[in-house]
Subunit: 375 residues, 2 copies
């Protein structure tokens, strides 16, 4: 594996996993699929031979939890770029590319969100070899996931012809933004459309060239913020005024959908964006009746439930297809088929001015997910 | 209304309403149907003109919560008899009758459990006039509730002929212990069977006479315990050794089912023994979608649910017929049609040695049902 610089975007808010995920401690900072947080799993998937130390881009409000979790995962040499405000993925990755280009414009970057899950890490690493080859040939490379359902929560990528010299990598015929239900059915039925995983591989030079063409105002603002940065032993702080002046835009929209250099690798990764509690039920290890249980819970005549308790003893009797999530200050019970409607509850709580919509009750040890009562 | 001495039996454990009701603070001590506890409601239903100060019989472990709740309800002159151990209802009411008989053997007692609900208090008081008349004529009078379903959780009373002189009171043809489902259907279909409400009216003399005939060992043991009692300004303490020697037996079994003097008043009281969370849903005030909500909860697309939270904010999305009960250290979600299976969970927790089966987490203020976090 050639040397690859992981760029991990850690800015998501993840209200679809409320009440665990809130602005004060978002989805990527919680252990959801393993005993490690999603951020830690994401960092460790890009650690070892062939990988340079990672660059992590996060909101400055989250700098301590990021630094602590990364260190706890055994990563001593991460660089942490702090965004004074969130501006979506294009400015975040532009900052990482500009910093990298100061040392080596031809360095290859692997951008990925901190809050996704990948089961087939070995296969992912194999695909990365092809991705690096294509990136060095000037492509902006993404990974396309074979759809298993007509999801409306993902963008889709229409597969084009293979590259002439790297045949496991394809041209992108078209990006399709999150479709409606009917369109999603057509896309899946076509057999030519893949889910957009949100991971990209490119050289710093390619990305900056493409930004200069397709999103020059983004590049200019971020360049100013990087130039005026302040660096200390722990963090790289982008200039607040310059960064705040940057448009908020995703890399998909700013570059991928506009460039002629987009490429895609069809990849079977066991990938999930963990976009709802139902997704965590799908990913979880099930008992003989299809229940996924995390924490201190007791089930009787329950089927296909997802039960997670971070504090209280939780008992479930005679229920099917229920998601039950117990945190210190909020309990949520939702039908597994309606897990996306969690957002409705969060919106209502925000409108009512309830703190539970945004913040967790402070605990003695911020890194500890257990209730202090249970210790 | 002639003077009637309420005798309130407060010894129940009520595990069917776990996790709220536990040994350390049982069902009768919680506000369930109103802002007052069931004990307080029970005391207040027998307060005012025509009622003497109540006698309350409870386990000595509960003496402070009983005394505090009774005083909070505005009852200054209750007599509280402490049982060193639980011995079911016959010994408890025998103690009250013996104490009363010391002053007036012909006093009329109204025995009732502390943990039932009665909606039609005015009608109840009218029926009590007939009950007192029949009690003075030597009858052991109970109240029979018109069945609305083939319940297997209640005893049944077969209606006999009316008394010759008090025609709204009937002889009891037969007591039927808790039936199986098929028998319950037959009993309800017969039109001659009423639910046994567990309330009784009798004179102290009648009860003691009947005990002497049908349960002499109970009477002897309780008489010894009452004779050797210690009385202080707050409590009447039965002698532990004598009382422990008493057989454990219900008044139904010790007297009512054996005596020829049993009588019953068919009564439409809006009565419930609140034998499960489903019963509380039945009794509760419902929103337009049939949900009963107690405490800090937010519902979205929920129907016919019972949601009670004593601490955490509780959110329910897209569920029907679910009972969700949130206490400080336990969360329970159960299908409303399977609310009786709560007992199974409690048994499993007992077998596992879990404290949540028996005791509540101590709080700063024992009388406060709210979590200290929410204040």
């Amino acid at each position: 594996m050639p040397t690859l610089i992981p760029v991990i975007l850690c800015g998501g808010a993840g209200t679809r996993l409320w009440p665990l995920s809130r602005e004060s401690r978002a989805k990527q900072f919680w252990p959801l699929t393993t005993d490690r947080s999603l951020l830690q799993e994401t960092v460790l998937r890009a650690h070892g031979p062939g990988f340079a130390p990672p660059i992590i881009v996060c909101n400055e409000a989250h700098r301590f939890v990021v630094a602590e979790q990364v260190r706890d995962a055994g990563i001593a040499d991460a660089r942490i770029i702090l965004e004074p405000v969130g501006r979506n993925s294009a400015p975040a990755v532009a900052a990482a590319a500009l910093l990298t280009a100061e040392d080596d414009p031809d360095a290859v970057l692997w951008m990925k969100p901190a809050d996704h899950a990948v089961d087939a890490v070995g296969r992912l690493h194999e695909h990365l070899r092809d991705a690096v080859d294509a990136a060095r040939a000037g492509y902006i490379v993404t990974f396309g996931i074979q759809p298993t359902a007509p999801e409306t929560g993902y963008g889709y990528i229409e597969l084009g012809d293979p590259l002439s010299d790297i045949t496991r990598v394809h041209h992108v015929a078209r990006f399709v933004e999150k479709p409606d239900a009917a369109t999603a059915l057509e896309l899946v039925a076509s057999g030519r459309h893949l889910w957009n995983s949100g991971m990209f591989v490119f050289t710093a030079r390619s990305l900056l060239d493409q930004l200069a063409i397709h999103a020059p105002s983004v590049l200019a603002a971020v360049r100013a913020a990087v130039t005026a940065r302040r660096t200390d032993p722990d963090f790289i702080r982008l200039d607040p005024t310059d960064f705040a002046a940057c448009p908020s835009i995703s890399l998909d929209y700013a570059v991928a959908e506009r460039t002629g250099k987009a490429a895609v690798i069809p990849a079977d990764l066991g990938w999930s964006d963990i976009g709802s509690w139902a997704a965590l039920w799908e990913l979880g290890e099930k008992d003989t009746r299809g229940n996924v249980v995390v924490g201190d819970a007791i089930l009787e005549s329950a089927e296909n439930c997802y039960v997670r308790s971070d504090c209280a003893l939780t008992a479930v009797v005679g229920l099917s297809d229920v998601v039950l999530v117990v945190t210190q200050d909020v309990v949520m019970a939702v039908h597994r088929g309606r897990a996306q409607e969690v957002k409705t509850i969060v919106d209502r709580l925000k409108a009512a001015g309830r703190p539970e919509a945004h913040t967790h009750k402070p605990t003695a040890t911020a890194g500890d997910t257990r209730d202090e009562r249970s210790s």
